[in-house]
Subunit: 297 residues, 4 copies
Amino acid sequence: MERVGFIGLGNMGRPMAANIRRRQFPMTVFDLAPGPVAALTELGAESAPDAGAVARASDVVITMLPGPREVSSTVLGPVLDNAKPGALVLDMSTVDPETTDALAKACAERGLGFVDAPVGRLAAHAERGESLFMVGGSDADVARARPLLEAMGSTIHHCGGPGAGTRTKLVNNYLAILLCQMNAEALSLATAFGLDLSKTLEVLHGTTATNGQLLVNWPNKVLKGDVQPGFAIDLAHKDLSLILGAANAARVPLPMAAAGREAFTAARARGMGGQDFSSMLDAQCAAAGVAPPRLPR
Amino acid sequence: MERVGFIGLGNMGRPMAANIRRRQFPMTVFDLAPGPVAALTELGAESAPDAGAVARASDVVITMLPGPREVSSTVLGPVLDNAKPGALVLDMSTVDPETTDALAKACAERGLGFVDAPVGRLAAHAERGESLFMVGGSDADVARARPLLEAMGSTIHHCGGPGAGTRTKLVNNYLAILLCQMNAEALSLATAFGLDLSKTLEVLHGTTATNGQLLVNWPNKVLKGDVQPGFAIDLAHKDLSLILGAANAARVPLPMAAAGREAFTAARARGMGGQDFSSMLDAQCAAAGVAPPRLPR
Amino acid sequence: MERVGFIGLGNMGRPMAANIRRRQFPMTVFDLAPGPVAALTELGAESAPDAGAVARASDVVITMLPGPREVSSTVLGPVLDNAKPGALVLDMSTVDPETTDALAKACAERGLGFVDAPVGRLAAHAERGESLFMVGGSDADVARARPLLEAMGSTIHHCGGPGAGTRTKLVNNYLAILLCQMNAEALSLATAFGLDLSKTLEVLHGTTATNGQLLVNWPNKVLKGDVQPGFAIDLAHKDLSLILGAANAARVPLPMAAAGREAFTAARARGMGGQDFSSMLDAQCAAAGVAPPRLPR
Amino acid sequence: MERVGFIGLGNMGRPMAANIRRRQFPMTVFDLAPGPVAALTELGAESAPDAGAVARASDVVITMLPGPREVSSTVLGPVLDNAKPGALVLDMSTVDPETTDALAKACAERGLGFVDAPVGRLAAHAERGESLFMVGGSDADVARARPLLEAMGSTIHHCGGPGAGTRTKLVNNYLAILLCQMNAEALSLATAFGLDLSKTLEVLHGTTATNGQLLVNWPNKVLKGDVQPGFAIDLAHKDLSLILGAANAARVPLPMAAAGREAFTAARARGMGGQDFSSMLDAQCAAAGVAPPRLPR
């Protein structure tokens, strides 16, 4: 079995690492927070003092970090400086394509493998080992990463060469996130119109208006009054900013995305950044001066 | 059986009327175009010289007309001036709530019944008697309209009192139409990113990014290169204008809808108004300078 | 001297009519409100019982009404039905091009003159006879209207044939109104940045960032805390809706205008519709969660 | 006289440095391009092999570089590592507030002075020593920089403490740049309406619709058919991206700016990125399908 290093044990990283460790892979971990590190050492992982020490101890180094800045400063510095010959770097963070491409290039120059495999679905899925991964990399590198990905998730999409995972993730999140503002606009209008929420939803789900957010996520979150974050508005806003940045770099105008991003900014200005992204409904209803609709219990 | 009048035998109205007539309801029809009228008289309907004559001959008067202006000038003038005592007016056109409310009020003042029942789904469904109706009206009026609605469609949603059908239709079409521009933005970005369309769709359909347009309509239309209109960009633009007008009257800001409407305007400026609304993909790809993606045959 | 009829004695119409009457033109007026009518009869005007009576008594019939609906129902009905042969209709209301074109056509068919001359500047200018007019019409018709326009205003732009006045007004108001939201965005950002308002304005007025709203209107209104309407957000919103409607009919996409119109809708949803349009600054600052900046006294 | 170092001799930097040198300040310069370096050595400046060497030779180090990345890597590395005790760093690049704040902090920690003084107006003004500067810094630091600023420009605004120059620049450019898209929308609509350009401009300049772009820049550029860049669409787009990034970090929603930025992206997708930013008019007219209007010669 390959020796696995895991850097970044946050809400997503901790359960992902735990699921790998439960399959008995030898593992070395690093995080600044002692709590998640202890959770992994209880499962038999080693604790390393820094990212470089993780790299020195591992055949496969997995990074699951907040954003492009953290990923770049961790991988392009300590990880690559200390990586074993022939090691594989597996970045599972959500970053912009420019960052992923820089990682892939740096790994290739050192003869290291590289796979980008950002995560779809939520922390609850990660706990259950039911994550979805959008994977970019060569066939050989992806084959090498597959046993680890299968330990962490139930759906693995090999989307193309290096960078294809990150790019697919951005396209996916563009739709998943902005559906929240679109649904919010539609339901705030329905509310202002005095329509019954249950009947309206029944109609929408029978036409091409239906969508994953409205069908799957919303009835379990904002529509029953639960705004605890499965995925917070702040994180959704961060993803939208990555998407708009990447699209502008590619000279692809995204007028609806741009309008939607500002709606997320306005929700943050209302102090709602920590709430679930489905609660864009409540932000939009506040802007429209109507009471946010809820499903009957 | 009630005597049915049908005014407006266009792409939708003609098959709807035919399906009622096939259930043997006595019927009088009016349209300015002789072809559709002949199609109905061959099925045994009577041809009337104008809308007033339809009203004089009918217990239930159905209107299926292009927009608010035509509906108002037909119903508020000749139909109501000639309606039989106790008649029911059943408007199935897509109009704004202000127009529907004016019709409902005028009918109520004359002691006539009124039901608004705009149509979901497309002309092909209407041909097969598989339309979806969003219905507003009193329980008694809707019960009276139901046998006719059942002749024309397979799904009947009684959404609330008079006006609830029109309002639900606008909310529904807001989502169904703007999903086209959202999907267009997402797939133009995927194309600029060099992603494989089939793999991208496979990913999207496994997450909350999925939606009715991308799942149902697009694979049968623009993604296989068919831009013949099931529902034309010009009509979608007209509906978006109704929606924005109604939302502005209700003081509900719709920032994404506003951005999306201008994208439809730009597509019309490109000369694409007569194409299927899924071909917003092609308009967006033209704006981004990328080739529109297609599914392999 | 020609006999003048004046229909519509609101905030703008009353002082405009008074300035004509002060030049001794024989005048017949009509308005539903008795107060403004009395103000004009005190100046020697005759009061008529309805719009038709005004038309019967006048060589030139001036209309100054709230919007397209009122203008159409007044001119296309009672005024034209009762107009004297060879009369001139002078519409000074702000309406959409479609309405103006319908008036022009109807007048031409009856051999009547027609001039559209909507008003720039504010009620205070109208009181002082310092209005600005954007005028459309034939040379002969405009020459005939000129003595009246000179009685009411100090700046007369003959923009082109019939309809050119209305169209120029829409283009002008597009800029004047949306500059309010643009300035609001800029100054809310400056405020969030902690910049000093006076210094910021000093810089802006020395570059191409300067604009008429920020230079002329704002220092006398919102920036000194006066939100009494010189031109209310509700009226500005109405004009924006006319503009977007006309642009969409002409297939001209206006993405910034569309975004701006929704900002005005959101301000109305905040209950600010009755405030001066410069107070879009306060609406924007509320959305951004910052205190609106004011100039020192 | 203080010894001056100048790093970055591009379109703006070269004439700015030359104007300082003409006042006889001893000067050391660095740029990767040999041509501009030669132009300065001909005026008596010394050429240094790198940025560190400039810092070692200078009392005041001026940086005029393309963007945040270049400024950070130059100042936070070689300049600060080699700065003389008590030196002053004067950054005149256009960067985001976060970058400026990081420079200010790093200088303060080393006991160095720091002033941010980004430039308003265009390269032609810089040639003539007529630039406008928005200056942030302590009174003492700004007093020290003033003789150099006066050598380069004719208008100096001391906007506040460190960072106030950068922030004022962003607010200023927000307005100056987006006025181009606003004017483009207005004039494309005027063109679609068939209005005469000269008459329309005459009207606009007499109302609060007037603005610096339309009054000063446009008649000398796009409106007479000159699209050579005084300030290119690509650079304007870069500034808009800085502004939106800073606003989103400050949680200030900018809906019109967001819509405008996508219009600039669309112009770049049309291949117009190298043209003057006033030629957003031509991009908008292309989107609307109308011929771009020009002033008569």
